[in-house]
Symmetry: C2
């Protein structure tokens, strides 16, 4: 039996691992994990009971957060694949969000695991465009389109 794949976020350099959405060193955050599977980023996340919009449904701002971090990891996974690096094993390059778009297609039920799947649809050396879906109980409830940019020097204090 092989070990489950390690998440891309587990291999961010320590200085970039405090993100509220996905930093393994931010214990108060969401701790989102994304694995690389057949050219896609895949994340699974179960919202907490307090992550409500209205009774029964997940807060759209949380979904936007998940799409955001999921897309950064997917951009990183894609760039690693292109460079012959192994996602979850080699160090993960850090991207930041240039633009985030989320379409809310249907209310997302709370109380179940969500699956995010994302793919890079356009890429240059400096940036990537990632398209993603959020699925709950087999229904795609949101779609994201995110511009991911290699972290600029102005943000590299860490």
């Amino acid at each position: 039996m092989t070990a489950p794949p390690r998440a891309l976020q587990d291999r961010y350099p320590e200085g970039f691992a405090r993100c509220f959405g996905c930093g393994r060193l931010n214990r108060e955050g969401h701790l989102l994990k994304t694995v690389w599977e057949s050219g896609e980023g895949v994340s699974r996340f179960t919202p907490r009971p307090e992550h409500l919009s209205v009774e029964g449904f997940v807060y759209g701002g949380l979904l936007a957060s998940l799409v955001d971090c999921h897309s950064m990891a997917t951009a990183a996974g894609h760039s690693m694949a292109g460079a012959g690096l192994e996602a979850g094993v080699d160090e993960t390059p850090r991207f930041v969000t240039g633009r985030l778009e989320v379409d809310y297609l249907a209310p997302t039920p709370i109380g179940c695991e969500l699956e995010l799947r994302g793919r890079v649809v356009e890429a240059s050396t400096r940036k990537a465009i990632v398209e993603s879906t959020v699925t709950a109980r087999g229904v795609v409830t949101a779609r994201g389109r995110v511009v991911a940019v290699r972290i600029p020097e102005s943000m590299q204090r860490a």
Copy 2:
């Protein structure tokens, strides 16, 4: 001396006041408050130290959340003004997010109060488009454009 204006979120009906971003009854959430000033929604929020992206800067997913709730309140404030109702006094109608767009123009520093200002740029009876800015220390660091929709019956369990 007059009392400070009450927030739009303080007058959401009780069943719609549990939103993680802005519900007054969700004590684990962000408790964002938006007031109505001269045709604009205005929100002020100080991120917590853990709301990081990378060291020194605010998590973009949090900014998306703030833009989201701020825009719903702004859409409500605009519709109330059109109906001759008083924001923060009369009951606030509940809108939900159809589409969220955020452009991250510059890294947002952590450790200071953020100001969001939003305005409805297009409206029908059923929906509104809200454009907003996020300002930190006098610099606009993000812009939002959000489609707000009157809450559909399918979400009205409350």
